[in-house]
Amino acid sequence: MTECDVLIIGGGPAGLAAGIEVGKAGLKALIVDEGVRFGGQLVKQTHKFFGNEEFYASVRGFEIAEKLLEELRAMDNVELMPESTVIGVYEDGVPILHRPSDTTTLLRPKRLVIATGASEKFLQFENNDLPGVYGAGAVQTLMNQFGIMPGENVLMIGSGNIGLIVSYQLMQAGVNVKAIIEASNRVGGYQVHANKVRRLGVPILLRHTIIRALGKEEVQGAVIAQVNDSWEVIPGTEREFVVDTICVAVGLSPSAELVSQAGGRLQFISELGGYVPVRDENMRTTASNVFVAGDVSGIEEATTAMVEGRIAGLSCVKDLKGITDEKRLKKFQEQLRAFRSGPTSSKVRKGLEKLNLSFPEKLPRETAVEPSYEAYKGKLRPIIECSEAIPCNPCETSCPFGAITIGENINNVPVIDYEKCTGCGICATKCPGLAIFMMQEKEEKGTATVGIPYEFLPIPSKGDQVYALRKDGSVAGVAKVTKVVKAPNSTTVVYIEVPLEEAREVRHIKVVEMKPEAIVCRCEELTVEDVEKAIEEGYTDFEELRRRLRIAMGPCGGRTCRLNALMILSRKTGTPIEKLDPGTFRPPVIPTTFKAVSKSAKGGESSEG
């Protein structure tokens, strides 16, 4: 194609959305993207999206990309050109470099939609050029797109949504995130995302910064320190982390160079991430034939990028055909206003104001939903732990019984009417923040069933023993899985039985894989199979197993193996773990030399010699 009506640069959510609107109107469009696959950042997003179900809320990012592409592939008048880069915008044409063939093609499109997204900001610290220092986007590309683990132990810099989400995804992939550090005094991202990583036991250290990476050939550690109110390092607070990967997620800046080349004026607006194109509410830049959409016009997120893409596409159509679906255009503009009306968009609103684009703040209902534990005790029901006003409503739209209400303002926090709720649990499978838990107290048994939205592998089966983790990631104990609800394309909800007093705290599980050859006791090198065999032989008390196998008799004193052995015992005998005797915890708690003990005798009262 050398002739096209609209050239769309960038095949991410904004570009694809723009392409659909142009294509629907029958105009010829070409979408150019650098990547092998279209979808931009979406293809790396394994988490469910927030927002409105009309804009794919509750759908995982890579699935959104698939849906958009499916729609585009059905259109003959839209062409997709992967692995290609627009290398400049000239007065006499737009050259596209096709990288695999190393050839260029010059295009003279009637309209240009620039949806080039953003690039990652980088942080200046000592040794930040060591292999092992990555941007969060690179980590996501490696891990989620190509299935390569970036390392084994990661320090995450930045607690914005990207830092939080990538941390969660690293943990899902089996990579250990040692800590997330954040220079400011509050977590940057959504509370629900922060809660997700906290219950995995990942600490979020506020008012901390990285000083240097350690290592000669590659990252072997990191030195971090506390900062004061002026973000200066407080001497003496340095501490070291042993990590092989440092992931930097300190924000993005718009990639607006092509807009500038096309004659569009840029303006520095820190709230929007840096130099952004000046544009109107129809996404038109100061160069009249050039439109923008998505992060290039200001750092936000994929949902607004898609809406902006639609607006830019419809605006091109209006330009070229003189007419467009005004109702649809208005609807998208209305959507944007709704999304940006909440407290989490205050920064974006402030930035847009500097471009004379007014997005009014609408105060959401921000009454935190206090889970009514008391009034409906004993009823199987969702506990919604979502008290921050964020633009998201799948709980409301997914409930078949109309029990959950967000209301007009999508930033409202949900309110649940337990009278209408049937305890079906669909909301828990849908919630993109994994912030809805199912609960049913069983007072007579002194236990409670807790349904946990679970996005890790392996998924446990009914009857399995798993670790129950509290909101802060600490282990509350071992729990039995009573039910597993797998919903297609949604979140699996794992129901476990926990002691009643832990029901409000337990929010995650850890599945211990019991492969027969897996080591249960490292000191004595005992496998799952060894333990199971002994149980089958009739050693059904922990102390009997201990004496039979020497489990928990090694230098660790059972720190590693005791709970694991008890879990196997519980599984094999069908005795709930809380009914099993965990055995004696004998001193000394750590191995202690004769020398160290006998020395104390000198000062003590009771030596014979």
């Binding site: 004595e524 032989e537 009739g538 050693y539 008390d541 102390e543 009997e544 004496r547 039979r548 020497r550 008799m553 090694g554 230098p555 004193g557 004696t584 004998r586 001193p587 000394p588 191995p591 202690t592 030399t593 004769f594 020398k595 003990v597 006998s598 104390s600 005798a601 003590g604 009771s606 030596s607 014979e608 010699g609």
Partner: protein, 380 residues
């Protein structure tokens, strides 16, 4: 649960399970053993596991020699490896009194047919170069002494008895013994009543308490004895080593850990199971003198068990003269594990045939206490 049994054994340690095993082996199938916790949860599972024949009292030597015969064929007879290892026992003499006693003991033990010899300090040094033998006058060594894993032995007896028809009730406590006009009628447990006319008290540390349930006063008292184990080291020590005047015993387990303990003459009678720091400081100060390499070795675990002491530190194997068919195998004074096979066999014979067949245990009856006792001296 069985509501009726020919014999009810109280206690799931090595003695109770050995008796159950031999009763079944000799043809009695409806045996019930009642254990309040898990098998070997009392003294058996807490003991050092030594098996020795070098005793100062002839009866003990005979019983121990019979036991060793049975230990030697344990795996073949019962079908389980119990880590039995005949690495010998090395007894150390440091005083003239001990030298005299050791000479006398060895002569008596040799009369009984035991392979035991005196070792000079030089001979001892040659055999055990890693020991500090400063002040040693003499040692005795019996190569057929050794050790085994007490828990495994208990489990082996119990499993074998179960296979032959015995019922082993763990986590079941005997709360009373039903006695009517000098006859045993049954045993009341936390899981119900078992009708029986024969009861064996093999309750170890709680032998006196169980006796009282049947209205029988038994002259036993329990004392806490402590023990600890080190991290595993390369195997260097074959025998179990004892010094009576220095008050210690030490052995190396199959997995390489050193186990050691001492007695405490100031310890009052009790059922206490908690270890004390005092014990650990005393032992860690004392032991590196004899085994210098221990200084840098780390202590892993420390626990305590009960010695069920009789007035002469020798077991009481008898039946009540006041109450028909109330047997007891108690008061083992810290060496029940090593005697268990012979005692189990003798007790089963007594119950079934009316008298022990393989070994003479007549001197272990209660009546000896009325004659004045000769105390077993080789006790730590």
């Amino acid at each position: 649960m069985r509501a009726e049994a020919s014999v009810v054994i109280i206690g799931g340690g090595i003695i109770g399970t050995a008796i159950a095993f031999y009763l079944c082996k000799k043809g009695m199938k409806d045996v019930v053993l009642v254990e309040k916790s898990y098998l070997s949860s009392g003294s058996t599972g807490r003991c050092g596991g030594g098996i020795r024949q070098q005793w100062s009292e002839r009866m003990n030597v005979r019983l121990a020699m019979r036991s060793v015969k049975l230990f030697e064929r344990f795996e073949e007879e019962i079908g389980m490896d119990i880590e039995y290892y005949q690495g010998g026992y090395l007894l150390l003499a440091y005083t003239d009194e001990e030298v005299e006693l050791f000479h006398k003991n060895v002569a008596m033990q040799q009369e009984e047919g035991l392979d035991v010899r005196l070792l000079s300090k030089e001979e001892t040094k040659e055999k055990f170069p890693f020991m500090n033998l400063e002040g040693l006058k003499l040692a005795t060594f019996c190569p057929t002494d050794g050790h085994a894993n007490p828990h495994l032995a208990t489990m082996a007896y119990a499993k074998a008895a179960e296979k032959m028809g015995a019922m082993i009730l763990t986590h079941t406590e005997v709360t009373d013994i039903d006695v009517q006009s000098g006859q045993i009628k049954g045993v009341l447990t936390t899981k119900g009543y078992i009708k029986t006319s024969v009861v064996v008290n093999a309750a170890g540390g709680f032998s006196r308490e169980v006796g009282l349930m049947a209205g029988v006063e038994l002259p036993t008292e329990s004392y806490r004895h402590q023990i600890f184990v080190t991290e595993p080291l390369e195997h260097i020590l074959d025998p179990l080593v004892i010094s009576f005047v220095n008050n210690f015993y030490i052995r190396q387990t199959k997995s390489g850990n050193f186990i050691m303990g001492q007695g405490d003459k100031d310890e009052p009678p009790s059922h206490k199971h908690d270890p004390s720091w005092k014990f650990l400081t005393e032992m860690t100060e004392k032991m590196p003198h004899f085994f210098p390499f221990l200084k840098e070795v780390r202590v892993l675990r420390h626990w305590a068990g009960l010695y069920n002491m009789s007035p002469d530190a020798q077991p009481i194997i008898d039946k009540s003269d006041k109450l028909s068919d109330f047997y007891f195998a108690i008061g083992f004074s810290g060496h029940g594990f090593m005697l268990a096979p012979a005692v189990g066999e003798a007790m089963a014979d007594w119950i079934i045939y009316g008298s022990p067949e393989e070994v003479d245990i007549s001197n272990l009856k209660m009546e000896r206490f009325s004659k004045g006792v000769s105390r077993e001296k080789n006790v730590v």
